[in-house]
C-alpha cells in the first residue's frame, strides 16, 4: 500500500465519523489558535511599547534622580537628586548636546470665554521641548529661554485642547485662565495623537518656572524646592551618545559632589529602556506560549483517548483487514495516519482561527496584535508532533491485536 492510499483510507475513516473527528480536533484547534493569538498579542504589546519609547524623540538620554525618601525629608534641598540648574549646566558645558528639557506637570481647571474644562493636564517645560520630544507647532511659537527665566504667563495649547476652548476662531493672542491665573496663548501644537496613555493633544504647555511657582502644592514645594525628577537630553549624533553620557555623569557627579559609583542620578538611553522592556515582554511572551503549549498537549491526550476508543470499536475491522493480508505495520500506519491527519487538519484550522482571531482582536479591540510567522510554524509543527506522539500508543495497540481475537470481537 503506498502512502497516498494510506492517507486516503485514513481520511475516509475520519469522514465516516465527522462529528467525533471534529470534537477530537477541537483540543488541537484551540491549542494552536491559542499559541498564535497569545504570541500575536504579546508581540503587539512589545511593538507598541517600542514605538512609544521611540516616539519620545530620537537620540534621547534620560537623566533620572535616584530619590531616597530619607534624604528628601531630612536634608531638604541640599542633598540628593537633580536640580533645575543641572539642566543648564548640561546644556552649557557638554559638547554634542542639541537640547535639554526639564518637565514638571500638574492638573488644573482651564477657562476661556464661556468654556470651562476641568482636570486639564499642564506640562511645564523648557524651550527645547518641541525639538527634543519631536513635537511640531501648527501655529504661533513656543516660549523662549528669557520668557522661561522671567516666568512669563504664556501658554501653548495642544491641538484638540485649542479646538475645545476656541472652536474655529484663532486662539493666538487670546486669554485663558489656568487655575486663577490669566495667560496669553502664543502657539498651538500640531496634532500628535495618543502615545501610550498620554494624549499630547489635550495638554497645555507653559514655562516650567511658572508651574514650579504657581501649580506645585506649597507643602510639596518646600521639600522639592527646585528639584526635578528627570532631565531629557537630546544628543546631536548617535555616535556621540556614549561620550555625552560619560560627560553628563562626570559633570553631575562633580556638581553633586558624589563618587561616580554612588551617584544620586541615573543616565539611561532609549536603547536601555527598549532593552528592559523587551526582556520583560519576552518573559511574558514565553509564559503565554507555555500556557498555550500545555493546551496543545491536552489536545494530544484527547486524540489519544479517541484513538483508543476507535481501536476498540473497530477491532473487528482490524481483524478483517488482518485476515485479508494486512501486516502489523499496515495497521499501525493506518491508525497513526488517522491521528496525524486529525492533528494536522486541527492544526490547519487552528492556524486559520489563530491568524484570523489575532487580526480580529487587533481590529475590534484597542489591543494591538502582530502575527509572528515563526509562532504559526512552531504551533503547526507542535500539533504534528503531538499527533504522532499521542497516536503511536493506540496505533501500536491496534497493530498487536491477534487476528482471531479481533475477528471474534463483537
Amino acid at each position: 500500500m503506498n502512502s497516498s492510499e494510506v492517507i486516503r483510507i485514513a481520511w475516509g475513516a475520519l469522514l465516516k465519523n465527522k462529528v467525533r473527528s471534529l470534537l477530537t480536533m477541537l483540543g488541537i484547534i484551540i491549542g494552536v489558535a491559542a499559541v498564535i493569538i497569545m504570541i500575536a498579542i504579546s508581540a503587539g504589546t512589545e511593538a507598541t511599547i517600542s514605538e512609544q519609547i521611540t516616539s519620545l524623540g530620537s537620540n534621547l538620554v534620560f537623566v533620572t534622580s535616584n530619590f531616597s525618601r530619607g534624604g528628601m525629608g531630612g536634608g531638604g534641598g541640599q542633598t540628593g537628586g537633580l536640580v533645575y540648574d543641572d539642566a543648564f549646566a548640561i546644556a552649557d558645558e557638554i559638547d554634542g548636546v542639541k537640547g535639554v528639557v526639564v518637565e514638571q506637570s500638574s492638573t488644573q481647571t482651564v477657562k476661556a470665554g464661556n468654556v470651562t474644562l476641568d482636570g486639564v493636564s499642564i506640562l511645564g517645560s523648557t524651550p527645547d521641548f518641541p525639538s527634543v520630544r519631536d513635537m511640531e507647532l501648527e501655529d504661533g511659537r513656543y516660549f523662549n529661554q528669557s520668557e522661561v527665566d522671567r516666568k512669563q504667563k504664556m501658554v501653548v495649547l495642544g491641538h484638540s485642547l485649542a479646538q475645545e476652548l476656541f472652536g474655529d476662531s484663532d486662539p493666538i493672542g487670546q486669554q485663558v485662565t489656568v487655575g486663577t491665573t490669566r495667560f496669553v496663548v502664543i502657539g498651538v501644537m500640531a496634532e500628535k495623537g495618543l502615545v501610550g496613555d498620554v494624549d499630547y493633544d489635550a495638554r497645555l504647555y507653559m514655562p516650567i518656572t511658572v508651574v514650579l511657582q504657581k501649580f506645585t502644592p506649597t507643602q510639596f514645594a518646600k521639600i522639592v524646592g527646585d528639584r526635578v525628577r528627570m532631565i531629557y537630553v537630546e544628543v546631536d549624533d548617535q555616535d556621540n551618545l556614549e561620550d555625552v553620557i560619560f560627560q553628563i555623569e562626570v559633570l553631575l557627579a562633580k556638581r553633586h559632589d558624589v563618587a561616580l559609583d554612588e551617584a544620586d542620578f541615573t543616565v539611561t538611553t532609549q536603547q536601555d529602556i527598549i532593552g528592559t522592556q523587551e526582556a520583560t515582554t519576552a518573559a511574558f511572551r514565553s509564559l503565554l506560549a507555555w500556557v498555550a503549549g500545555v493546551s496543545l498537549i491536552v489536545g494530544g491526550i484527547g486524540i489519544m483517548n479517541i484513538m483508543l476508543v476507535s481501536v476498540t470499536e473497530r477491532t473487528r475491522e482490524i481483524g478483517i483487514r488482518q485476515s485479508v493480508g494486512a501486516t502489523p505495520n499496515d495497521i499501525r500506519w493506518q491508525f497513526l495516519t488517522e491521528a496525524l491527519l486529525l492533528s494536522l487538519v486541527g492544526g490547519l484550522i487552528g492556524t486559520f482561527i489563530g491568524v484570523g482571531g489575532s487580526w480580529l482582536f487587533g481590529t475590534v479591540s484597542d489591543m494591538r496584535t502582530v502575527i509572528v510567522p515563526t509562532s504559526v510554524v512552531v504551533a503547526f509543527g507542535s500539533a504534528a508532533i503531538v499527533g504522532a506522539f499521542f497516536g503511536f500508543y493506540p496505533a501500536n495497540k491496534a497493530a498487536e491485536l491477534d487476528p482471531i481475537e479481533a475477528l471474534r470481537h463483537e
Binding site: 500500500m1 492510499e5 483510507i9 465516516k16 473487528r316 475491522e317 481483524g319 478483517i320 483487514r321 488482518q322 485476515s323 485479508v324 493480508g325 494486512a326 501486516t327 502489523p328 505495520n329 499496515d330 491477534d402 487476528p403 482471531i404 475477528l407
Partner: protein, 246 residues
C-alpha cells in the same frame, strides 16, 4: 489441471495454556487435500475444528507438527509472512460475512488488493477486477451498495467475491450459511459448488450434515483428533437433484 497437494499437515498439534492447565485443542492431526477438492470439517464444539480452521487459514500457528500449504512450509512463519500468505493464497468466507460497514461492495471486494503490494495494479485495474468478481457472484447491479443495504445472502456473495479477488489457492469457509435462511443458504452453497466445479479448492467448517453433503468428503473431528473421514460420493446425486428442482 494436474493434481497437486494444496494442504498437507503432519501431526499438527495446538496446545493452549501451561502446566496442569494444558489443553490440546489439536492432537496429532494429519490431513491431505489436493487441488480442486471440496472438503468439509465437522465436529461437536470443542472438537478443535475452529482451531484447525485457523491454522489452515494461516491466522495462527501450530504448536507442533508441520503445515505445508501449496508446497510451502508455513508452520514457523512470523506474523508478517503469514499476513502475506493470507493475502496471496487464501480467501475467507465467514459465518457473519465480516464486511466493512458503511463501505461499498466494490470497496469491500477491493480490500485484499490494498495489501497485495503489487505495484503494477493501478486503481483502475483494481476497480475493474473487483467489478468482475462482483459480476461473477451475481451482484453486478449492486457494486455501489453498502452492506446494510444488502440482504444476508447478498452480503455473503460480496464476501465470496472478496475471497476470490486475489485468485487464492485455497478458500476457507467458516459456517458460510450459518446466518442465512435455507433458500439463501442453498444459493450460497450452489455458488460454492460452481466455484468447486471451476477448479477451486474449498475447505468448509460446518456443523450441518446437510451442508456437509455438498462436499466430496467430510473430516470428522473429536477431542482434537480425526475421528473419521467420510466420502460423500453418493450425495453427488442428491445435490444434482436439488439443483435440477430449481
Amino acid at each position: 489441471m494436474a493434481r497437486r497437494t494444496i494442504i498437507e499437515t503432519i501431526d499438527l498439534t495446538k496446545i493452549y495454556g501451561m502446566g496442569d492447565a494444558r489443553v490440546a485443542a489439536l492432537d496429532g492431526v494429519s490431513i491431505h487435500i489436493e487441488t480442486g477438492e471440496f472438503v468439509a470439517i465437522m465436529g461437536p464444539s470443542g472438537s478443535g475444528k475452529s482451531t484447525l480452521m485457523n491454522i489452515l487459514g494461516c491466522l495462527s500457528r501450530p504448536t507442533g507438527g508441520r503445515y505445508i500449504l501449496d508446497g510451502e512450509d508455513v508452520s514457523d512463519l512470523d506474523k508478517v509472512q503469514l499476513a502475506a500468505i493470507r493475502n496471496r493464497k487464501i480467501g475467507y468466507i465467514f459465518q457473519s460475512y465480516n464486511l466493512l460497514p458503511r463501505t461499498t461492495a466494490l470497496q469491500n471486494v477491493m480490500l485484499p488488493l490494498q495489501y497485495d503490494r503489487i505495484k503494477e495494479r493501478t486503481a483502475e485495474k483494481r476497480v475493474a477486477l473487483a467489478a468482475k468478481m462482483l459480476k461473477k457472484v451475481g451482484l453486478a447491479e449492486r457494486i455501489q451498495h453498502q452492506p446494510q443495504e444488502l440482504s444476508g445472502g447478498q452480503q455473503q456473495r460480496v464476501a465470496i467475491a472478496r475471497a476470490l479477488i486475489n485468485d487464492p489457492v485455497l478458500i476457507m469457509a467458516d459456517e458460510p450459511t450459518g446466518n442465512l435462511d435455507s433458500k439463501s443458504g442453498d444459493e450460497i452453497m450452489n455458488l460454492l459448488h460452481e466455484l468447486h466445479q471451476q477448479g477451486a479448492t474449498i475447505v468448509m467448517v460446518t456443523h450441518d450434515p446437510e451442508i456437509a453433503s455438498y462436499t466430496q468428503r467430510t473430516i470428522h473431528l473429536r477431542d482434537g483428533k480425526i475421528e473419521k473421514i467420510v466420502h460423500n460420493g453418493a450425495n453427488e446425486h442428491k445435490r444434482a437433484e436439488k439443483r435440477s428442482e430449481k
